[in-house]
Structure formats: structure tokens, C-alpha cells
Amino acid sequence: MSALSATFKRDLALAWSAGGGALAPVGYFFGATTLVPLAMGAERALLAAAGPPLVWIAAALAILAMLERLFQADIEDGSLEQMLLSPASLEMIVLVKGAALWVAVGLPLALASAPAAIALQAPLHLIPAIVASVALGSAAFIGMGLVGAAIAAGVKRAGVLIALIVLPFFAPPIIFGAAVAAGAGFGGPFLILAGCAAASIAIGPIAAAAALRLHAE
């Protein structure tokens, strides 16, 4: 267990310390949501109809931006070899790294989605559901993102490749998450979103660990 908790603490510390910490993705997120009314026009009715689901696009992009360095540094400085030598299985270590990313980035994004959704004219009674759904959705994004990040680590222009690999798999959480934000609240789409998150948390670490083992060869 200590290997896992050490990994969690280390990754959390790295995420909070480097490059602006948790503020950087949240700032990215606010920047992206600010561009929405600039592009669409600030008319209230139009924003209320189309704005809140766009919170989801911003959250997906903010998570995507965090993926490129996720395993890159571990491969470069030899941490990956240590992970392979540790008694804990690589799948669990990857899962814990994903959990650390979720705590460092996913939760702040979920909290930030409340003011962003309000600014985009989402009705107040939907805000708890939007915050909870972004928290779940970022878990789903990170689960699939682990796979892309593990595969593309060490590749030239990894960022573009990760986006190309991972974005199609963001479709289901985006669909159900946007439905939550568009007015479904804690209804059926929310539950399916939870299912998407559970599925990608289950699949992601296994596939990502398989890819990381290849890097170590």
C-alpha cells in the first residue's frame, strides 16, 4: 500500500507545484469559457440555450492539456523502472496517478464549473448537478486520457497525437454531461455518465499499463 500512497502524494505534489499548480488548468478553463460569449454574442436567451453545455467542452480541453506530461517525466527520469520494480502492480500505480490527477485538476475544474455555468446563464437549480457531473466527467476523461498519455509518451508532437487518439473517446461523457448541463439534472443522463466514468476508470489503467510496459522494454 505504501507504494501507492507514496505515488499519490508525489503526483499530487508535482501537480500542485509545477507550472502554476491547479490554478493553471482552472485558468485555462475560465479562459476557454470566456471565449464562448465572445464568439456567440452575449445575448442572454442564446447563451442560456447553448452556453452551459459548452462548460463541458472547456473542461475536456483543460484535462486534455494536462495529459501530455503525465507519463513523459516518469519515463525520462527512470521513475517508470522503479514503478515496474515496486511490489504494487503497474495497473494500480497508473490508477493512483489518475486519481491524483483527478484530485489535482478534476475537482478544481468541477468547482470552477459552478461560476462558469452561472456566467453562461445556466439556471441556479442545475448548478449542483453540473458540478457533480463535471467531477464525474473529468474522471471519465482522465480514464481514457491515461491510455492516450501512456501510448504517446516519448513520441514526437505527443500533444497532437494524444488529442487525435483521445478525443473520439470523449464523445460519450460529453454527450451525457452536456445533457446534464442542458437541463436533465440528476436524471438518467447523470447515471449513464457515472457508468461511463466507471467503465473508463476500469479500462483505462489496464490499457495504459500495457502501453507503459512497452516503453520500459
Binding site: 481514457m144 491510455v147 501510448i151 504517446a152 513520441v155 514526437k156 508532437r157 497525437l161 487525435l164 487518439i165 483521445v166 478525443l167 473520439p168 473517446f169 464523445a171 460519450p172 454527450i175 451525457f176 445533457a179 449513464i192 461511463c196 467503465a199 479500462i203 490499457a207 500495457a210 502501453a211 512497452l214 522494454e217
Partner: protein, 238 residues
């Protein structure tokens, strides 16, 4: 079966006569199927002559899925048994499947303009085919991004299998999301198209399938020959 064809020499011997057979089969089926579909089959009672796009469109959609399933099977074999030939097959199937998906999207768009009154509708089936096309692009890009070919093959296999698990989820989610496209042709045991259209449709499907097999074998042979040439060059350079 799998181990028989894992041997490249045996595969080259088999494909040397199988490739022209599949090619000839595709040519014959196209020669029968195209006039049947475009001339001798009945026009639709609602859509008129535009229904003929179906004979190009529907088999392309099926084949893009079959090509992905082929890649999934090959990727599984590659990861479990590490057959080099399975990687070659998966890599060769990807551009063909992507082309089928593109044909499906383009002809669907041409078909949608007169019948639905729009070139593109963000509907479940259109969107899931577009997502499949994007998955194909990511897969192809991954092959070219990794320098070491053996590693690239195993990364691509992992990605392909993750995509295989996700495709039903994506399909289900976009179907739930919005739907304008007609339902699948297969409804239980009966087909929802007129019996007079089944003949040309299935002939065209057979032609597409034979074409896929022929192109896949040609592309695999090319890849193996390229590897042999490279190996020879390395030997002669020593």
C-alpha cells in the same frame, strides 16, 4: 489456423493465389451489382431514384465496421501471441476501413441533401460513423508517429482494442443523443427494405467484401516485401 498464417513465407505463398481470386471475385460482383443497383432495380416509392445511393452507401458502412472488427481481431492476436503478421494485417486494414468510412460519410451526405433536405445532420448514426472515422485517423497517425515498427504495432494494438470496447458505448450514446437516420435494415428476422432491393444490395456488399479482402492482401504483401527489401539492404550494407 492462426499459427499457419503466422509464417510470412506461407502467407506469401497463400496470398499469391488468393489475392487475384478475391480481386476477380470483386470485379465480377461489381460488374453484376453496379448495373443491377443503378439500372435494373426498382426506384423507391418515396425517394425515387435517389434510393440507388443506398447500394454504395450501406455496404461501405458495413465494411468500415467489418474492417475495424478485423483490426480488432488482428490486434488481439498480435498482443496475445505476438504474431508479426497480425500487426501487418491490422495496419493494412486501417486505411481501407477509413476509406470505407469516408465513402459512407460522403455518399450519406449526398443522399441526405435531397431526401432530408440537409447535407449534414448531427444524428446518431452519422455522428457515430464520424467518430469511427476519427478513431481510424488516430490509429493511422499512431503508426506513423512511433519510429520503432514493432513497438508501434503493439501500441496500435492496445489502442485498437480500447476502441473496440468503446465503439458500442459510443454508438449507444450517440443513438440516444439524437436520431434522424432510418433504423437498421435488419429488424429482427425480416429486412425493412423491399425484397427486390435485397439482391443488388447483397451483391454490392459481396463486391465490397471481396474488394476489401483483395486490397488487404495486396497491402499486406507490399508491407512484407518492403520489410524484406529493407532487411536485404541492411545485409548488403554490412
Amino acid at each position: 489456423m492462426i499459427s499457419t498464417f503466422a509464417n510470412p513465407a506461407r502467407f506469401m505463398a497463400f496470398s499469391a493465389w488468393a489475392t487475384p481470386i478475391f480481386g476477380a471475385l470483386a470485379a465480377v460482383l461489381f460488374v453484376v451489382g453496379l448495373p443491377w443497383a443503378f439500372q435494373f432495380s426498382p426506384a423507391d416509392y418515396q425517394q425515387g431514384e435517389t434510393v440507388r445511393i443506398m447500394y454504395v452507401h450501406v455496404p461501405a458502412a458495413w465494411m468500415s465496421l467489418i474492417a475495424y472488427a478485423t483490426m480488432g481481431g488482428a490486434s488481439f492476436v498480435s498482443l496475445v501471441w505476438r504474431h508479426a503478421l497480425a500487426d501487418v494485417a491490422a495496419r493494412a486494414a486501417a486505411p481501407i476501413g477509413a476509406t470505407f468510412a469516408a465513402i459512407c460519410l460522403i455518399t450519406g451526405s449526398i443522399w441526405g441533401a435531397p431526401t432530408w433536405g440537409t447535407w449534414w445532420e448531427w444524428d446518431g448514426r452519422l455522428t457515430s460513423m464520424l467518430v469511427l472515422f476519427l478513431i481510424y485517423l488516430g490509429y493511422i497517425a499512431l503508426w506513423t508517429a512511433v519510429d520503432d515498427e514493432e513497438k508501434a504495432g503493439r501500441f496500435a494494438a492496445i489502442l485498437c482494442l480500447v476502441g473496440l470496447i468503446n465503439l458500442p458505448i459510443i454508438k449507444f450514446s450517440v443513438d440516444w443523443w439524437s436520431t434522424l437516420h432510418q433504423r437498421s435494415i435488419f429488424q429482427g428476422s425480416s429486412m425493412s427494405v423491399d425484397p427486390s432491393m435485397v439482391g443488388p444490395l447483397m451483391t454490392m456488399f459481396g463486391a465490397y467484401a471481396a474488394l476489401f479482402a483483395a486490397l488487404l492482401l495486396v497491402s499486406m504483401r507490399a508491407a512484407i516485401n518492403r520489410r524484406r527489401v529493407e532487411a536485404q539492404r541492411l545485409r548488403s550494407a554490412q
